[in-house]
């Protein structure tokens, strides 16, 4: 039973297609099932279901957005799901401008990846299964963005974690891949536990009544909910973000996740799943706002550390995907840091999330194209590819420029908005952002030059990838160029009319901020060009002594985790488990066995003495009686006659006297 589809804001425009947002989330489920059952038999081994579903989903997402383009308001609908005591949990959708934007992001990137994988994963041993999990993942992410209550969001969140694990470990035959998958899963899990408890706290704040996001958002602002409770909830929720969006200190899984196929990196670890953590903060923003101010400061600190640290780590990577991975961590931290600034920061963070999805996915897919051609991930084995792979080169260049923040590409506009938001009162954040922008530009330039310019340093004859792979690159490049204008001040910044926290913020163009950001980016690019124009060997970033080794060893964080946490726990826990198993479990089992055996012996005794005794006794009695009675059958006639006479006498007396 569907509870009424209500228009939550009073305006004259009907809900239109926005009511059908849930269809977009269900389509990938259907395609996953179809691929699972019929994929192997379908020509092309099953990509068609996913591609069809994503195309339809994309079209539908655009139609949903159209409702908001026309100025429509948020729409929601739900069905009752389950009830525990006073808690009523529904399953439903809440569709506002943010939801529509997120849906566009997910369906666009997912469609690009689906098409791209036709070429990239061609001939793979688990091609069909790959598409199944891709579809399941997309369904889960869409579920997260349209969910109207925290429980449903959590379900999608966890399913995404599972799909990430499955896809990172897609080539699990190699130990390093399965280890990376396990690392990703466990580290994000460490963040998921506080997230879960955060949900519990929020449910408690509603009086154990509801998990609905809108209701929670309204309630936390009320006077009867304690600030401490709200702060606790905010911090716990942020734990989930730290895990899922790979912030310090749980960022360690994302670089290792590059062991998975490149389309997976593009979809999950660039554009969507890792963005879910940022989305969570933004969606639950009223909780963060009504918490103690220290909470947002904490968010900002974590974001700041991650942002700058990850940018530095990107400098010393030779693996092109690792550069992009650390870059992703850094960019996500940009968004998180912006969130800590205030509602304006929140909105600009979402804008950056939007643009970042496009250019990061583009970069990953283009890198995949390069890897596919060169059969190596390492930039030191690349170079001079701009002639041989022109489409890849130009799309990669656009993506890199966007990443570095070069106007008029999308990345510039969104980064600019972030800086503007930070500039109003948060100087430290602002400065850090600028510095990071410079470093970002530097390593981006390094990446482009090492990969495409100069002389080819590898083996074989790399050539351009097939159209099925370059097509999505071009599409994403188009997006990279154009979507930035959605949020630019001079084009009426329509993006912020769709995505806003409570009230749309006016968007202004601040010249000095823009100038500074262009300067920072330009500085980074020039420096990068200068250092790498000659393709120096060995790479200069490794020549910086202790600084280089610190970065190369990733600030020794992995060692700290392994020796400080993983090994002791594993050894202690396993020792405890062994003790438990040997003494308690085996004790119980052996004890039971002993008991059974004793019982069996006792029963045997009983059976032998009592029961057999009884049976034998009966037999013996029968034999004994028979032995007695046999004397009746002596064969002796006179014996018989004797009995006869006795009987006669008795009978005679009895008959006559009785």
């Amino acid at each position: 039973m569907v509870v009424a589809a209500e228009t939550l804001s009073a305006n004259a425009i009907g809900p239109g297609f926005s009511k059908l947002a849930w269809v977009v989330a269900v389509l990938p489920v259907v395609s996953a099932a179809l691929t699972l059952f019929f994929g192997k038999r379908t020509p092309g081994r099953g990509w068609i279901y996913g591609v069809a579903a994503m195309s339809a989903g994309f079209v539908l997402s655009v139609l949903v957005l159209w409702h908001f383009v026309q100025g429509g308001g948020a729409v929601g609908s739900s069905v009752a799901w389950f009830t525990i005591g006073p808690l009523h949990v529904e399953a439903g959708q809440f569709v506002d401008g943010l939801t529509a934007i997120m849906m566009i992001v997910v369906t666009t990137v997912s469609l690009a990846v689906h098409v791209y994988s036709i070429g990239y994963m061609h001939g793979d041993v688990r091609f069909t299964w790959f598409y199944v999990v891709l579809s399941v993942f997309t369904a889960a992410m869409l579920n997260v963005v349209i969910a109207d209550n925290l429980i449903q969001l959590l379900v999608g969140w966890e399913v995404m974690g599972l799909c990430s694990y499955l896809l990172i470990g897609h080539w699990w035959e190699e130990r390093i891949n399965s280890n990376a998958a396990i690392k990703a899963f466990i580290v994000t899990r460490v963040g998921d536990v506080p997230f879960l408890f955060g949900i519990f706290v929020l449910i408690a704040a509603t009086g154990f009544h509801s998990a609905n996001i809108q209701q929670v958002g309204e309630l936390v602002g009320g006077a009867d909910v304690s600030r401490g409770l709200v702060s606790a909830a905010a911090v716990l929720l942020f734990g989930g973000t730290i895990g899922k969006s790979a912030q310090f200190p749980l960022h360690v899984w994302l670089p290792d996740a590059m062991q998975g196929p490149t389309p997976v990196s593009a979809l999950i670890h660039a554009a969507t799943m890792v963005a879910a953590g940022v989305y969570l903060v933004g969606r639950m923003y009223s909780v963060f706002l009504h918490a103690a101010p220290e909470v947002l400061q904490f968010v900002g600190i974590i974001g700041g550390i991650t942002m700058f640290g990850a940018a530095l780590l990107a400098l010393v990577q030779d693996d092109i995907k690792r550069v992009l991975a650390y870059s992703t961590v850094s960019q996500l931290a940009y968004m998180v840091t912006a969130m800590s600034v205030g509602p304006a920061g929140r909105d600009s963070a979402f804008f950056h999330l939007f643009t970042h999805a496009f250019f990061k996915a583009l970069l990953f897919l283009a890198a995949g194209s390069v890897i596919h051609a060169v059969h190596s991930n390492y930039m030191s084995e690349m170079g001079g590819l701009w002639r041989r792979m022109p489409v890849t080169f130009w799309t990669f260049a656009f993506g890199s420029a966007a990443l570095a923040g070069i106007p008029p590409l999308a990345g510039f506009w969104s980064k600019d908005e972030l800086l503007v938001a930070a500039s109003r009162g948060h100087e430290v954040v602002f400065t850090l952002m600028l510095l990071t922008a410079a470093v970002t530009a530097f390593y981006t330039t390094r990446m482009v030059m090492q990969t495409f310019l100069g002389v080819y340093r590898g083996h074989g004859e790399p050539h351009e990838s097939p159209a099925v792979m370059t097509g999505p690159l071009v599409g994403l490049a188009f997006g990279t160029v154009t979507v930035g204008f959605l949020g630019a001040a001079f084009s009426r910044a329509v993006f912020f009319k769709w995505v806003f926290f409570e009230v749309p913020e006016p968007v202004t163009f601040v010249p000095w901020v823009a100038t500074l950001s262009i300067l920072a980016a330009g500085l980074g690019v020039v420096a990068g060009w200068y250092v790498y124009r000659e393709q120096p060997e060995p790479d200069p970033v490794f020549q910086l002594g202790w600084f280089s080794s610190l970065l190369v060893n990733k600030f020794y964080l992995d060692e700290v985790y392994m020796n400080g946490i993983v090994l002791p726990v594993r050894d202690r826990v396993s020792a405890a488990a062994v003790w438990f198993d040997r003494n308690v479990l085996d004790g119980v089992v052996n004890g039971t066995a002993r008991l059974t055996r004793d019982l069996a012996l006792g029963t045997d005794e009983f059976d032998r003495t009592v029961i057999d005794g009884a049976v034998n006794g009966v037999a013996q009695t029968a034999g004994f009686t028979g032995g007695l009675l046999r004397y009746l059958q002596s064969g002796n006639v006179q014996r018989y006659a004797a009995f006869l006479f006795v009987g006669v006498v008795v009978l005679a007396i009895v008959i006559t006297r009785v």
């Binding site: 006179q638 006479f645 006795v646 005679a652 006559t656």
Partner: protein, 166 residues
């Protein structure tokens, strides 16, 4: 006690003694002879009871024929002539049973009649009366008995035939 009764008691005593000797004799021929005496005594008792036909038939058949048969039987079966134990192991039980039978019978007699019971006045028993009754009223059983005797005769012949044909 009348004279008849005395005679009867004497006869009865003789008969009893000979009967007892019959069943306890150690010599089979002696036993057969005692049988003769007993049967004769019984015949005498019949005569005392004025059953003259039955009495003479008794003497004729029993003493005359049956005892001879017995003697033949004894001779043909090489009966051990001499003092050998002719009693089997259940003598004691047999004695008890015999005494029991006697006791039972005496009990029955005594409960039916007192010891000074009815006196017999022997009246019927002449041959003529017997003949009348036998050939009128009881002619059918008579014929049946004749069949029986025929069957017995044939049976005895058949049974004792030596089966040594080639």
């Amino acid at each position: 006690m009348t004279g008849q009764e005395y005679a009867f008691v004497v006869l009865a005593l003789v008969g009893t003694v000979s009967a007892i000797r019959l069943v306890t004799a150690k010599n089979v021929v002696h036993a057969a002879l005692y049988l003769v005496v007993t049967l004769s005594v019984v015949g005498g008792v019949y005569l005392l009871l004025a059953a003259e036909f039955v009495g003479w038939v008794q003497i004729l058949i029993y003493v005359g024929a049956i005892v001879i048969l017995f003697l033949f039987g004894l001779m043909l079966t090489r009966a051990p002539i001499g003092r050998e134990a002719l009693d089997n192991q259940q003598r004691v039980i047999a004695l008890l049973i015999g005494l029991g039978v006697l006791a039972g019978l005496v009990f029955l007699i005594q409960s039916a009649f007192s010891w000074s019971g009815p006196r017999l006045r022997p009246s019927v028993g002449t041959t003529a009366e017997l003949g009348h009754s036998l050939f009128r009223q009881w002619v059918l059983p008579f014929e049946a008995v004749s069949f029986l005797l025929l069957a017995a005769l044939i049976g005895a012949v058949v049974l004792s035939r030596r089966d040594d044909r080639p």
